[in-house]
């Protein structure tokens, strides 16, 4: 370490010059990162929420769905890349599939938890008022499960933002390209830290956006909190 730093005295952790000289590379990496993350979370939500509803409607399916999600979640991300890369090749699609898989598991688990927390009295009341299964789902269960669904979306988004970096293994890691590219380019600290900081910041910004969206989607929760 001391040898290295002596050989490269000018390798700061932060450098304006790096940012000024490489806007295209940085913006490109950030754009790819946002695209991959958004695609993955959107697909995962579109598949995961209906699966959770299935587990909610057909209770015998609840335990197997949750257990299956738990087992799949144990499998390392790089192993999932390894399973699909020989078939899908080394494109951006290979990155999206594992991301979808992990986000899916988080979303299913939290949506199901949210749906199962709908109070039994509320469900009974809805049935007593003559709601059918679908009407009850759309008007009663899903709105009440919004906090759970949102928690799932937020956790999945933040985790996906971090995990997208692993896409470097097939050359599509978004900001991971900066992080590992900097490491391999003779330990270029400014590039590594730029990628890392942007990645964490992106995760936090998306998390806050989703939190705000959730606030807007559940005005009654705020009203209840404001009431004495």
């Amino acid at each position: 370490m001391s040898l290295l730093s002596a050989a490269q005295p000018d390798n700061p952790w932060f450098s304006w010059r790096y940012l000024e000289n490489n806007p295209d590379r940085i913006v490109g990496a950030l754009t790819e990162h946002i695209t991959l993350t958004t695609q993955a979370v959107l697909i995962a939500a579109l598949v995961g929420v209906p699966l959770a509803i299935l587990g909610y409607w057909f209770r015998p399916l609840t335990a197997p769905i949750l257990a299956g999600a738990g087992i799949l979640y144990t499998i390392p991300a790089l192993a999932v890349f390894a399973f699909i890369a020989p078939y899908l090749g080394v494109g951006a699609g290979t990155v999206v599939v594992p991301l979808v898989l992990y986000a899916l598991l988080v979303i299913i688990r939290n949506t199901l938890t949210g749906l199962l927390q709908v109070p039994a009295e509320v469900r009974d009341a809805a049935r007593g008022m003559g709601y059918g299964r679908l009407a009850q789902l759309v008007r009663i269960d899903l709105p009440l499960a919004v906090p759970g669904i949102l928690t799932g979306l937020r956790l999945a988004t933040v985790a996906t933002v971090a995990m997208t970096t692993i896409g470097v293994v097939v050359g599509h890691g978004g900001l991971g390209q900066l992080i590992l590219g900097g490491f391999r380019a003779n330990f270029f600290r400014a590039e590594i830290l730029t990628g890392a900081v942007l990645c964490v910041a992106l995760g936090l910004v998306l998390d806050l956006l989703l939190l705000a969206a959730g606030r807007l989607a559940t005005p009654w929760a705020r009203r209840r909190a404001a009431a004495p």
């Binding site: 192993a79 390894a82 890369a85 933040v158 998390d207």
Partner: protein, 235 residues
């Protein structure tokens, strides 16, 4: 049998791929050494702090913030940044990089474990004249063991899974097999990539299974059903 699966079977069937220097057994050894080091380091840091915070009943919110923050940090970032700090290149940097992600689950479960102790039990112990330290050691710590075991399982499985990424900084471990396969290209390395992925996945599932049994063994019988019901809500 041809295609990647056939290639993977062929690759796994070659005894030299297991016993060669840098073969599967070597990589497995590295993988387990790194994982054990990271989990041990994380436990050493997280358990005393978590138990003490739980004992004092403070710090619940910061622990949640810490967990959410570490979720946003890419493993790739700690793996590449730490070797360039005072820690230097080599195994210690990889171990610290992994331990960072193992701390939040260990911390949270230790804290919850102590907090979940029945207040009446705590009052009874106080009434018997136990000091704060004695209360923590003799009452709260034993009662928190099932939680500590659950946290240990979550952290250990996560570490075993993420140590795979050490390949990106030439840190060794089973991920190296996958990385080498990608280096060879899909046509020749496809089988090796698949075989490496299979080994890593099996190891993670095996660790999960073994530690789940361990967790069950240290959990007193009356608490078992209760714990299972609570697990989905906390994760």
């Amino acid at each position: 049998m041809s295609g990647p699966v056939g290639q993977a079977v062929t690759w796994l069937n070659d005894p030299l791929n297991w016993t060669n220097p840098g073969g599967i057994l070597d990589r497995l050894g590295e993988h387990l050494t790194l994982s054990a080091g990271a989990v041990a380091l994380a436990c050493l840091v997280a358990w005393p702090v978590g138990l003490w915070l739980g004992h004092r009943g403070v710090g619940g919110a910061p622990i949640v913030v810490l967990s959410n923050l570490t979720l946003a940090i890419p493993v790739l970032a700690t793996l590449t940044i730490l070797p360039l700090t005072a820690i230097g290149f080599g195994r210690p940097a990889v171990i610290v990089a992994m331990a960072i992600f193992a701390v939040p689950p260990l911390l949270a479960t230790a804290y919850t474990g102590v907090r979940e102790v029945d207040p009446q039990t705590r009052d009874a112990a106080r009434g018997m004249g136990l000091s704060g330290g004695q209360l923590l050691r003799r009452v709260e710590l034993p009662l928190a063991v099932p939680y500590l075991a659950a946290g240990f399982r979550i952290a250990a499985v996560q570490v075993v899974a993420t140590v795979t990424l050490a390949v990106f900084v030439n840190g060794g471990g089973l991920g190296t097999i996958i990385g080498a396969g990608f280096g060879l290209g899909m046509a020749t390395g496809g089988g090796q990539i698949l075989a490496g992925g299979l080994l890593v996945a099996l190891l993670a599932l095996l660790v999960e299974a073994v530690l789940a049994v361990g967790e069950r063994l240290v959990t007193p019988r009356p608490l078992r059903r209760d714990r299972r019901r609570r697990t989905p809500a906390t994760t």
